[in-house]
Subunit: 746 residues, 2 copies
Amino acid sequence: MTLREKAGQLNQRMYGWDAYRRTPDGGFELTEALYAETERFAGLGALYGLMRADAWSGVDHSTGPGSGDGAALADLVQRHVMERSRLGIPALFVEEVPHGHMALDGTVLPVNLAVGATWDPELYERAAAHAAAELRARGGHVALVSALDIARDPRWGRTEECFGEDPSLAARLTEALVRGMQGEVGAVGEVAEAGEAQDGLFADDKAPVVLKHFAGQGATVGGRNSAESELGLRELHEIHLPAARAGVRAGAAAVMAAYNEVDGMPCCGNRALLHGLLRESWGFRGLVMADGLAVDRLARITGDKVAAGALALNAGVDLSLWDEGFTHLEEAVERGLVGEDVLDAAVARVLSLKFRLGLFERPYSADRSAQPPSPDRGRALSTALARAAVTLLHDDGGVLPIRPGVSRIAVLGPHAATTAHQLGDYTAPQRPGTGSSVLDGLRRLAPENADIRHARGCALTGDDRSDIPEAIAVAAASDLAVLVLGGSSARTSGTEFGANGAALTAVSEMTCGEGADLAGLRLGAAQHALLDGVTATGTPTVVVLIQGRPHAVPEAADRAAALLTAWYPGPWGGEAIAQILLGRAEPTGRLPVSVPRSAAQLPVHYNHKDIEYGAYVDESAEPLYSFGHGLSYTSFAYGRPRLAQRTVDVDITNTGQRHGRTVAQLYIRRLLTPVWPRTLELRAFQGVDLAPGEQRTVTFSLGADQLVQVGADLETGVLPGTLEIRVAESARAALTAVPVVLRIDE
Amino acid sequence: MTLREKAGQLNQRMYGWDAYRRTPDGGFELTEALYAETERFAGLGALYGLMRADAWSGVDHSTGPGSGDGAALADLVQRHVMERSRLGIPALFVEEVPHGHMALDGTVLPVNLAVGATWDPELYERAAAHAAAELRARGGHVALVSALDIARDPRWGRTEECFGEDPSLAARLTEALVRGMQGEVGAVGEVAEAGEAQDGLFADDKAPVVLKHFAGQGATVGGRNSAESELGLRELHEIHLPAARAGVRAGAAAVMAAYNEVDGMPCCGNRALLHGLLRESWGFRGLVMADGLAVDRLARITGDKVAAGALALNAGVDLSLWDEGFTHLEEAVERGLVGEDVLDAAVARVLSLKFRLGLFERPYSADRSAQPPSPDRGRALSTALARAAVTLLHDDGGVLPIRPGVSRIAVLGPHAATTAHQLGDYTAPQRPGTGSSVLDGLRRLAPENADIRHARGCALTGDDRSDIPEAIAVAAASDLAVLVLGGSSARTSGTEFGANGAALTAVSEMTCGEGADLAGLRLGAAQHALLDGVTATGTPTVVVLIQGRPHAVPEAADRAAALLTAWYPGPWGGEAIAQILLGRAEPTGRLPVSVPRSAAQLPVHYNHKDIEYGAYVDESAEPLYSFGHGLSYTSFAYGRPRLAQRTVDVDITNTGQRHGRTVAQLYIRRLLTPVWPRTLELRAFQGVDLAPGEQRTVTFSLGADQLVQVGADLETGVLPGTLEIRVAESARAALTAVPVVLRIDE
């Protein structure tokens, strides 16, 4: 290969939607832009977002590929690439799959924060497998998946993309994601430990993943998107790396180097992180992709983009995204800024991934056997995840599930009758009629005699209160009000975007998503007024929050008879919520993040260092709702844990009148230890379904994942010491749970 | 010395106020508690707070030592100690001197945050020298001084004890503090660089300082007092260590190891910090004292206090404060937890400090020549600092200085007519009539025809609005309103304290100080209502904030004609404020911290990493007022900087009609650099007094202090690269100032 051909393999320069246009006959044709790109490098390394459709790309059902013609478009592009490549090297088609394939007709899943609330890796693994199969059937190859960001500041608009605040919960869900999407292909990292082949081929319905973002992006200061971090290496290792390490162990094909800086250097230029830690310590042999335009940002300190590209390549980046820097790698080698051996190693990783996908033998979708998976199965999995995520935070009035005698139900609020805002960021336009709102779900599932009335009340944002009186009147005339409030990451055509797709100006009702950080964590002012007005009627009010972050709405905790959060539950979230409100399903969600009382008390995590702190003069320092919290329609009793060797048994009993699922959470609390401990650390969990009166013994094994610690010199292992094991229904409950003590000797 | 005698030298166990009581004849007698303590160790290492008087100690003018009898009490205690000590080793008397000697009759200075606002190390050095002389004349030996904490989160109640958010500003003021208090005694650290004697004796009017706190205490999460830190080592080195390093270079006799944890270990148990960095890298040969009860806290991970004491001693702590752990050092040595050689080294440091104070030859105050310094000089210095600290934030109406024609002046607000809340934390009870409020100052200094009326309006805290109408009426009937609002660190007898003196419950009007953290950064609700009501009258309103942290009061910026902050200006602050309001002095203060718009946008510093970030959806990410900002009654023009070798010249002209002082601030902005830079870094400043029309050339030398950088592996030095030099009146102004570029070659 020539130097130019090699450099070409490391570039992922174009937006995929610029590569094609619709022809008058409804087909597709390729563009001069694509021709220019393949000409420039005599081929094409990778193409981003060929299927992407959203407000940023401007692609919709009239212009973009759907489930019926996506594969044909992919093959059209691939044929052109193969023709331009002297050596016949196919391109990688890289697609966004943060919660389902973000393409027209792709099955939208609940966002990661909702997935975190399910505490159900097995269910998520099946949903991830479905998404990969959809992607591959459409001609896509590689899935960009959110997984590694840890939600440490709810002001951040990308909190929705996190599995939560806890490293162990995120690690288990990341493993499930990798297993679901990639199938069994052998681990790419941890060679010595895994002892497995690293070069397994991907099945035709499986997709290699790019885990994003590596590393520490959830810790940027002030919850500001892709801003700086003051993150120390200990915090990085203890909180932000475990999910990445678990994903690498599970065999993840690639990681995406993040925008943020860690210990003095942005991840894309951070050789200590990408090379020293990821490749050398962890034995990772997969691909490192840069986040969009992150390489070019390095020119701030290198002085030009050629040197920026060299810095990134030397640091460990293999494949760029949209950057100019990597287009000059030929010059960088010639100027001596980077060795050709370094370039060769990166090229080998890109080619290896193409090989593992079978692209050299079968470059075209038409060659492959994968059939599109059933849309009904996709819908069922999405709905199941949504249902499992809905979390009952309080039910002081005992109003839930809604009793049959409750006939007049007011369904109110800006989220009540629309699915547009329950989808999360990235989402492609939905075909009319897709999904169900809470109002849809209640109308379909409520008893026939139910009198369901709706008023929107207000918009998600702003302070227009003109429609609030109508909503109050409807509430006053009802036996129960269901008030659906929250936020939105829905982008509209008026949004301005940066070159990397992040929102520059949040318009319309968008207060969340990439580029939409929210300082005050409050809902729109009119929503608060609506909450005040509806609860003041005296009609028992169930507040449902649909949101991509925990908002601070302590008023709802005070005034609502019951409070639930569904996060962004996806298109069929309304159906799932209605099932739970009506008692057709049990609430099983548990909080993957602590819910703050206000932005002023941030940060609020359960797993802070173990220091006694009372309160601020003006506010508690404790969260409103604890990590791990979630009520059931029944109740559970946990027995004293019993320790035998490295096994803990706990008897759990359903002490109520209904079937239910509790999530048994195993926390450790270190006593004698070489470094200052956190108050509690979640290290294992199990969902347990129990019939009324049923008792079961849950067994946890205490292996390296449960006992591992980051020692004084950041060495990671099972260190001598003593620790308590506590099993409870939430982090707060664990504080007073009866412990057993485990001693770990030298 | 026996092992027990050695251990005794490392203990500072008692509260000094428990060592004596007043006799009916007005003298003092010693207590059984002191006898027991000296008996236990056959002597006494150090005694804390013999002169302390405050709500915590319960000492007041009826029970405690004043300026007239403090020395006699000290000698009484010392005589007892000498008698009980087999080897005749005198005790160290250690006193709180955070802003003047915190004892009855001690001259109270403005708090450190106000000192930071002066940007005047020379003035501060003189005030520090005065405080040391007062301390020594009273029989005290060692001064505990706040200096090293950097204000990174204004929610922290100890923000008032910081010189501000900037490491260079803090470093220059720490040097001034050390020079002022200790005089010329030779450097204790940086042997190789300084090449000076390290064992110089302290003059009789000088006091060795304990710089507190080492290190990183300003970075605890959430602004929570002595809580955990997620601080990384880079942030520690770049932001939190420079003041300590400067203080060590200047010869500081001791540092206090902080409560907070750094990289996995509380400072008192952190050998990497106390030994590796402080002693080995920096060459520090002085004493390390633990913060109060900080050693015992280590028992959380060691399992018992004996091991906690051993851990602290091994880590580098020489002298404890109130801990039980250090009382068991004899047992710790016998159990083999710590070597006797380690103990011996610590004892040698304690004895060395006693020797340097001349205590072996002249243990008693009566032996020494120091005369009490003049109280009038103390008052003059305190007032000068207060005057220099008052900072004019805006004057949109041009209402200041108050014109002679303004005759009816309303002086309003809970701070207007009292000095009780302008003193800051730690402060001893003041004798009646000490100091002046803003009302006092205006009444004394305003033209004779001025009609000055006062109404308090409301209390500092709470929402009692009953007196607000009266204040509004007074405002409405006046030509100008001076509204004095703010916070308070004044402790009352109802306050509950922890064993270390931190407030456990903030009662009365206390919202600041040690243990009083404020999540929302808001004034009491009634103060906001008072502000609304007074400004709504249409009477031009000058708002003066007296506070120990920047509160978020954007309403004042919007509605007041002019806004000033005086921080806690000390007893004579009202006089200083009145001088400035009336134009008898010029406003010269500059902000040592960024002023946030709200708690929701924290953190807000000028010297964040250089990342573009627009804004939150609901709020700007920029501060309301920038670091370095402060207006004058005149105006200044800055010329283009000229660079010749390592010298920068800037022409500055007073372009207004009045005399004034500008603070020329030199910032660097790194361009080509091995680690990601901050947007700006203050590296030098000079106050420049100019008559109307006068021009002067200010010259800055660019030495190691200006160019030093923390490199990729935390190595600290002048590294190759290019950088811009900008000279401006604030950090915000520096962003658009014309730069000169300096290239630093290998």
